[in-house]
Subunit: 159 residues, 2 copies
DNA sequence: CCGTAGGGTTAGGGTTAC
DNA sequence: TGTAACCCTAACCCTACG
């Protein structure tokens, strides 16, 4: 069986981010044509890039909640009502630095240790987000995509 | 809370199978929209159809012989991670078919798994699978789903 | 015709209820 | 404990529009 579904590899995702950083969003064909990325992304179409970017954005902006909620659910079924605060949400986003891939619960051994060396630079991410918020004014008022671009595309961390 | 867990009725299951026979697997929305089935399945979503089909498939492919195989497995603890049913394995290597991605570079396909079968007296599952392999090998495109389609969906006798 | 945007659908892992 | 039913969402498709 080939690939009924082609999951995005970290390399591809990195290339996509780099491509967006270089050419901007919405320039999928341009990114794809850039020799710097065309190799890594050769099995992807421009539409694929667009879709993946959408997924990344959504995950980065809203995704952090799923885990927090799940964790709460699992540990304490009776959640307390309060803790609905914008600031708290922002912090949650910051602490959940990478849009965690489920880390493939592999039956076959060899897990992917996302606890790599360069993981605890989260503090820098905190800073960046803070900066983003400061620069772009309040969260509610500013364009989510802009913030995302800022925090997601700016730092050359992972690659 | 809410979900009373709606068990599938035999009528619904029959409609699903008929729908798959008519439109093919993976066309859940189409099946749901077909006036021939929309009444029976009106309380089901396309995702429900997909999930139910998956459950049926698993049951049909593994369940029927599970006892015998389980006995063997217990005696042979360290089976390959890809331990498989004998018949299915044979088919897997017979050939492969992939689903379509008409407008995407790098991935091909045209997948139209139309499995038509002649009716015959069912003696044993083994026989049916054997037959399926024989027939489908010539036609190209046998995988688990195809075989399942053949043995599970083909006979209009059952319902 | 080509590319992008955006809504809709499917595939598959995961979770829950029984 | 097992599994049918259900959930979540990444990956993919379809269509309108410029």
């Amino acid at each position: 069986m080939g690939a009924p579904k082609q999951k995005w590899t970290p390399e591809e995702e990195a290339a996509l981010k780099a491509g967006v950083r270089k050419h901007g969003t919405g320039k999928w064909r341009t990114i794809l044509s850039d020799p710097e990325f065309s190799l890594v992304l050769k099995s992807r179409s421009n539409v694929d890039l667009k879709d993946k970017w959408r997924n990344i954005s959504v995950t980065a902006l809203w995704g952090s909640r799923k885990k927090a909620k799940l964790a709460l659910k699992r540990t304490l079924p009776a959640t307390k009502p309060d803790d609905n605060n914008t600031a708290v949400s922002i912090v949650a986003l910051a602490n959940d630095d990478e849009r965690a891939k489920p880390t493939s619960p592999g039956r076959s051994g060899g897990g992917s240790p996302r606890a790599s060396a360069s993981k605890r630079s989260i503090t820098s991410l905190d800073k960046i987000i803070l900066e983003a918020i400061t620069n772009l004014k309040e969260l509610r008022g500013s364009d989510r995509t802009s913030i995302f671009m800022y925090i997601e595309v700016s730092p050359p961390l992972g690659f």
